[in-house]
């Protein structure tokens, strides 16, 4: 068996999910005695290739081409597909980043293959790969297998593997090989322009020791005041899940999650937040997580230290009352 693990960089900086996928690939390679090659696409990436070659992989393959400097779905698909056709791996593993979700389905489909995206784990069972991915917003999991012959393409969700478990080589470095990329400007139909951030962040939630965060369970904009009052009493900052910011009930710079801020306060109070992975990646480093949710099966309880199953409109006023007027 042969596995390609695709790393990701932008403007010379690693996407940290790279290491999680490499861990998944290393562990699977060990289990199946497979050959593992790390792959990186970009322009002028020899230095990053060196870094990869210190990890436990049999080879580092670089798709190094001026037209791969900025990500495009066409460019990355053509380059990776060329490599897959040349090196015939059984499995291509990628980190489930915003970039990967933009091209991996296309890469697989262009070869008539399937892409199993956003997996949270895998099992090697009776000589076949069983992938687990979430459905129904994390309320259920599905075991998924590939049908038909390889190559198979899959990606892993943020947090599915621990990046600090990446195995380094005991000595020396893996060979680094530059792969010929056959890519012409006219094959790329999209033109990436500048990257930017919206107006400067007014609040820096990363410094807040306590965060009270509201989700769609808060129901209406007027009810935010309730959470705000609680935040004041505990000396915390107010934050929110995406739908609350989408509605404009709180400004974007208070959004926690993959598209917003990543925080690690000592206390994170999640009120009426379901715990979708895109939210959880932004707060799972919190020391203590408290979740108030009326649904006992809400995924937020998977990462909560203290859980209260109940109506936040009963629980939060009770918390406020208790803080204002402590009663034994």
């Amino acid at each position: 068996m042969k596995i390609l693990a695709v790393a990701e960089q932008r403007q010379g900086k690693w996407n940290p999910l790279t290491w999680e996928t490499l861990v998944a690939a290393q562990q699977l390679a060990e289990k199946t005695s497979a050959e593992l090659c790390a792959v990186l696409a970009g322009s002028d990436i020899a230095g990053l290739g060196e870094e990869l070659s210190a990890r436990r992989v049999s080879e580092v393959l670089l798709l190094d081409h001026p037209l791969l400097e900025s990500y495009t779905a066409d460019g990355f698909t053509i380059a990776l597909r060329g490599l897959v056709e040349q090196s015939s791996p059984d499995l291509v593993l990628l980190p489930h980043t915003y970039q990967v979700r933009d091209f991996a389905p296309k890469l697989a489909a262009s070869m008539g293959k399937g892409f199993v995206g956003d997996c949270v784990g895998y099992r090697w069972e009776a000589d076949r790969l069983v992938l687990t991915r979430q459905m129904f917003q994390g309320r259920a999991n599905a075991d998924v297998t590939f049908a038909g012959p390889p190559p198979w393409v899959a990606s892993f969700q943020a947090g599915a593997f621990r990046p600090d478990q990446v195995a380094r080589r005991e000595s020396g470095q893996a060979p680094v090989r530059k792969i010929d990329v056959d890519l012409k400007p006219e094959q790329i139909r999209t033109r990436p322009l500048e990257t930017f951030r919206e107006a400067r962040q007014a609040v820096d939630l990363t410094e807040a020791p306590i965060i009270v965060s509201v989700g769609r369970g808060i129901k209406e904009q007027a009810n935010i005041a309730l959470a705000e009052k609680l935040a004041k009493l505990v000396g915390g900052e107010l934050a929110a899940s995406r739908p609350i910011c989408d509605e404009g009930w709180l400004p974007m710079d208070r959004q926690i999650g993959s598209s917003g801020q990543t925080v690690a306060p000592k206390l994170y109070l999640a009120l009426g937040i379901s715990g979708a992975i895109q939210h959880v990646v932004g707060m799972k480093g919190s020391r203590t997580v408290v979740a108030v949710n009326k649904d006992r099966n809400a995924p937020i309880f998977e990462i909560a230290d203290y859980g209260i199953v109940g109506d936040l409109f009963e629980i939060v006023p009770a918390l406020i009352a208790q803080l204002e007027n402590p009663q034994p």
Binding site: Y98, R101, A140, T190, L193, C245, Y306, G310, E314, A318
Partner: protein, 257 residues
């Protein structure tokens, strides 16, 4: 301009989840269904483009008979007509087979623009839009937060991680996957609901499309995940749990003074 919007009907967000006997879908009795959230944003975007540039908005939906209800909602909000690819066993299809089915009916329309949601709330494949583009031979972009059109060209604001964005340009026709929050979707008006009754819904049996059936991937079973973390659940009246929580945060976790 002619815009096709792909709309999926999904179980309502707050519907209780019970796994069906076949272990690959959920029990549909007693639950409500609704329009997949980002698809509502995609529809709104299509309606606004039509209002500013003229043209037609066509809804494409693959699903069982019940999906008609969501299709009608889209027509009531202002879409002009719909194509319903009917398949009671739609949930058995892998993403490529779903995309092939939708692509087959969309191709006949030769639209200028195809919009999908970013991700479905039920299967959550997050890939149908990209697959449609591949099947139709069109360029695409995903996680779109703004669409501008000038001189037959698209200028798109694409979301990147951690609060970053990027502008991307591409020619029309194209396929775009729309992210929730791009706009403020409208509600259907009574007038819209009345008008929708006369709008055409073309039903096409998926089986009649004559598409290859071999899947590229198979859902073996779905299950409720085992909790791996030990959460301490606090029970009692609101007053009791409030007191217990504050006590624990102060003296056990020591995160509150």
């Amino acid at each position: 301009m002619k815009i096709v919007v792909c709309i999926k009907q999904v179980p309502a967000r707050d519907a209780p989840l019970a796994i069906a006997e076949d272990k690959i879908w959920i029990r549909e009795s007693d639950i409500g269904f609704e329009m997949n959230e980002p698809d509502g944003y995609a529809l709104e975007e299509a309606l606004r483009l039509k209002e500013s540039r003229g043209g037609e908005v066509v809804v494409a939906s693959l699903g069982p008979e019940r999906a008609k209800q969501t299709i009608k909602e889209a027509l009531a909000k202002g879409a002009d007509r719909a194509i319903h690819v009917v398949d009671p066993g739609f949930y058995r299809l892998d993403p490529l087979a779903s995309a092939r089915s939708l692509a087959a009916v969309i191709q006949k329309e030769s639209p200028d623009l195809i919009l999908t949601g970013l991700q479905s709330d039920d299967h959550g494949f997050g890939q149908t839009g990209v697959l449609l583009a591949e099947r139709l031979g069109l360029p695409h972009s995903t996680i779109i937060m703004q669409i501008e059109i000038s001189d037959g060209k698209l200028k798109l604001k694409r979301e990147l991680e951690a609060g970053w964005f990027q502008w991307v340009e591409m020619p029309l026709p194209a396929v775009l996957s729309i992210q929730s929050g791009i706009n403020k979707p409208r509600y259907a008006t009574l007038k819209g609901i009345m008008a929708a009754k006369k709008k055409p819904i073309e039903s096409v049996e998926r089986a009649s499309l004559g598409l290859p059936d071999e899947p590229t991937q198979t859902i073996e079973r779905i299950f409720v995940p085992q909790k791996t973390k030990h959460t301490e659940f606090l029970d009692g009246s609101p007053k009791e749990v409030a007191a217990a929580l504050i006590e624990k945060l102060r003296h056990e976790a020591r995160v509150l003074s």
